[in-house]
């Protein structure tokens, strides 16, 4: 029996454990496995294999009972998930259902989650813009949060590393605030978008730019991606179903199969992490305690190094729940700041309008991206009564439609031969930086637990006065830019959405130079427990304005290489 136990412990021992198989965890796993490190990946959800587990990927519109629409029942049962734009009939099986995974909203917070192998990398919007030192230097320059312990030069080679492997389409724009990367050919801006680009140049010189957004889609270097079994993006725009071409980057299509091919990866699915095991005698973390999602049995796995990539808020939850005599308030939480300084991106506002020019033109085909405004506000110096600024999406389009006023044969002929074109409509949405604050935080419930005996997460995150001022400024500035470009019928909106729906929640386990005011060092190790690394959204000291996934991927790859130095 004793031997059996030793064998069992041996079978449960790896060199590295990665918690989470999504955007950042799959990158840690890929780097570790590729370099010979025996790695266990723990995923709380079910397996989703590339191609095999994309049940809707090739379904035609008429094969969906409600032609893509959500039913009342789905909406009623999932008030949070159904507010996400991608939660529709074709992709709802990849989203967490509200009832199954409750959390406590001390203030309204739409927590959008994907519990399966690949996580939200199946569902993301695939926008990948680099940070620059205008972003990393933000907290130090403007006096909020704490100084980032790294700068652009530390992460630049890792951006290149992940861009090359993931496949990023874009143009070299030469902007210091949005550095160029390893780009495959860019998609095309349309005639109205190009017109707007020129108008900006005319009206604002070199201070404001609208560029083609860089996106994680394969558009060239095809032989290289063939090694991953991925081919060129077909512009289907059905990405959220899982792509049979592997045209966009997902963990399922790219990093995980790559890691698996090495023979060094073990995947443990349906395993809900309870906590990280801390050994006081050894003074380090030694493993991970999980609860089997189906049998609810507890199991332990052991490793020399542990990566926590459970997605920002769940990473906070796991660390908060990892208590010991040494760390009574959560692993590595000597500063008492674990779970605090959570922030997000403000997506509340949008501006739309019409353009009367180019009536003789339209567009054809598909495109998985659109235009992008890098931040221009407060870029070189403080110029407004609020801190920081916003990026924005931008696109123009028009559609062919039928006059549906009649009935009978008149209507039938008209809808079969649609003869009308809408005016060009143009639209923009803001992506505002929010300022991390101690009061925006997450904590464990002391009385409520989930079906696996793990305390529910209490989320207490809200907008502040800075965000309100920024919404107003975005609306004013975008309106002005639209007016100067001759756009008409300009409408501004503020949909008052709750934080969270941006799906860019960040922080709680922030990086910093000083263990008294931060949790992680410059290499993503917990200051007080350095064999534990955090490289997902939880590590973010500030949020800046760029879609954050690319930065998490680069962080994960960089930290994996740091960990390997210590393993060898």
């Amino acid at each position: 029996m004793a031997n059996l136990n030793i064998d069992a412990a041996k079978e449960r021992t790896f060199q590295a454990i990665v918690i989470g198989s999504g955007m950042s965890g799959s990158w840690a796993a890929k780097e570790l496995c590729e370099h010979g490190v025996k790695t266990l990946v723990i995923e709380r959800g079910r397996d989703v294999k590339h191609l095999r587990d994309y049940p809707t990927t090739n379904m035609l519109p008429y094969e969906f009972e409600h032609r893509g629409q959500l039913t009342n029942q789905m909406k009623e049962e999932n008030p949070v998930a159904s507010r996400c734009y991608a939660f529709r009939e074709d992709a709802m099986h990849f989203f967490v259902k509200d009832k199954e995974h409750p959390y406590v909203q001390e203030k309204p917070f739409d927590w959008i989650r994907g519990y399966q192998v690949g996580g939200k990398s199946l569902l993301w919007a695939r926008q990948v813009q680099r940070w620059s030192d205008f972003d990393f230097e933000g907290p130090a320059r403007d006096g909020f949060a704490v100084d980032w312990p790294i700068r652009y030069k530390d992460i630049a080679p890792w951006y290149s590393h992940v861009e090359k492997f993931a496949g990023v389409s874009g143009n070299k724009d030469g902007l210091p605030n949005l550095p160029d990367g390893e780009f495959l050919p860019g998609f095309e801006l349309n005639i109205v978008e190009k017109y707007f680009q020129e108008q900006l140049k005319k009206n604002y010189g070199d201070t404001r730019h609208m560029i083609l957004a860089r996106c994680a889609h394969i558009t060239g270097n095809l032989e290289y991606y063939q090694q991953q079994g991925r081919v060129k993006c077909q512009s289907r725009n059905l990405c959220q179903r899982g792509c049979p071409f592997g045209g966009y980057f997902s963990a399922n299509a790219s990093t995980l199969p790559w890691a698996e091919k090495t023979g060094n990866m073990t995947m443990r699915t349906d395993a809900v992490v309870h906590s990280i095991i801390y050994d006081e005698a050894k003074g380090k973390a030694t493993g991970v305690r999980i609860v089997d999602a189906n049998t609810k049995q507890t199991e332990e796995y052991f490793a020399e190094v542990i990566f926590v990539n459970a997605a920002a808020l769940n990473t906070n939850l796991i660390l908060l729940n990892s208590t010991s005599n040494r760390f009574p308030n959560g692993l590595g939480n000597d500063s008492g700041l674990l779970g605090k300084y959570v922030a997000f991106h403000n997506y509340r506002a949008g501006v739309s309008a019409e353009y009367e020019g180019f009536q003789e033109y339209t567009t054809s085909g598909g495109r998985p991206t659109s235009g992008y405004f890098p931040r221009f506000r407060n870029l070189h110096k403080q110029e407004t009564d609020f801190l920081r600024g916003y990026a924005a999406g931008f696109s123009a389009g028009r559609y062919n439609y039928a006059d549906q006023s009649g009935i009978g044969m008149t209507l039938k002929e008209e809808i079969l031969n649609p003869s009308k074109y809408s005016p060009w409509s143009v639209g923009s949405h803001m992506m505002g930086e929010t300022i991390p604050k101690e009061t925006n935080c997450v904590a464990l419930s002391t009385d409520e637990k989930d079906a696996w005996g793990i305390p529910l997460l209490k989320v207490n995150v809200d907008y502040d006065d800075n965000d309100e001022k920024m919404v107003k400024d975005y609306q004013e500035q975008m309106t002005e830019m639209f007016e100067k470009a001759g756009f008409t019928n300009i409408r501004v909106r503020d949909d008052q959405r709750a934080p969270g729906l941006d799906i860019h929640e960040m922080g709680g386990v922030r990086m910093g130079k000083d263990p008294k005011t931060s949790l992680l060092n410059k290499d993503h190790q917990l200051h007080a427990c350095p064999n534990v690394y955090v490289t997902d959204g939880a590590c973010m000291t500030s949020t800046s304005t760029q879609n954050p996934s690319l930065t998490y991927m680069a962080f994960a790859a960089r930290a994996a290489h740091h960990a390997m130095k210590n393993l060898k």
Binding site: N58, L60, P61, Y62, E65, H66, R67, Q69, L70, T71, N72, Q73, F187, E188, L189, N190, I191, E193, K194, Q234, S235, R236, N237, L238, E360, Y361, T362, T363, S364, G365, G366, R367, Q404, I407, G408, M409, L411, K412, E413, I415, L416, N417, Y421
Partner: protein, 188 residues
């Protein structure tokens, strides 16, 4: 169509149509597949005739050839607000009364041209009408028209045989001259 498929197979097993007793003293039973609506088989037939009036058969199939009436019932039953569901059921129930009022005949007994007049008249009821019954007919016909068009255009028949749909739309072209697009006229 899982639920309806299941009901269909249940019907085969039980050797007949699956119907639940009506609770409003009608002689006819209501269709169990649409649990949020009080719809009988004869109401479903009227709906099919209205759908065919909106999109009639011609050189191409019409709405009821594609069972658009069932699509309408699915969408109304599953996807619209409860108060709209009530208006829909009420409008469908009272549609023959409306037809008798404006054309002196139940809807199914009218010639196609007459049917078209009745539906057109119903759709031309003013938004500002204060007559509850008229408003109900207007709302009912608007919903029916909307789902008839959607059900017809997004049917397998149209999307495979008439205007083949491709999951791959082709590479993006951001400046296409509309005058350069050649389209073949499709006869209804």
């Amino acid at each position: 169509m899982h639920r309806r498929e299941a009901l269909k197979s249940l019907a085969i097993l039980s050797g007949g149509a699956v119907l639940v007793p009506s609770c409003n003293f009608e002689t006819e039973d209501i269709l169990a597949a649409y649990q949020n609506l009080n719809v009988t088989e004869s109401m479903r037939e009227v709906l099919a005739q209205i759908a065919d009036t909106i999109i009639p058969p011609g050189s191409l199939k019409g709405a009821s050839d594609l069972a658009v009436q069932d699509f309408i019932l699915v969408m109304v039953n599953d996807c619209i607000e409860t108060d709209q569901q009530r208006v829909f059921t009420k409008g469908l129930q009272s549609f023959n009364t409306f037809s008798k009022k404006v054309a002196n005949s139940s809807f199914s007994k009218l010639e196609q041209a007459e049917q078209e007049k009745v539906v057109a008249q119903g759709l031309s009821i003013s938004n500002e009408s204060t007559d509850e019954d008229e408003k109900t007919i207007l709302e009912f016909l608007r919903l029916t028209k909307r789902f008839t068009i959607q059900g017809f255009m997004m049917s397998e028949y149209i999307m495979t045989q008439v205007k083949p749909y491709s999951l791959i739309p082709g590479e993006y072209n951001g400046a296409v001259l509309i005058s350069s697009i050649s389209t073949m006229k499709i006869d209804g």
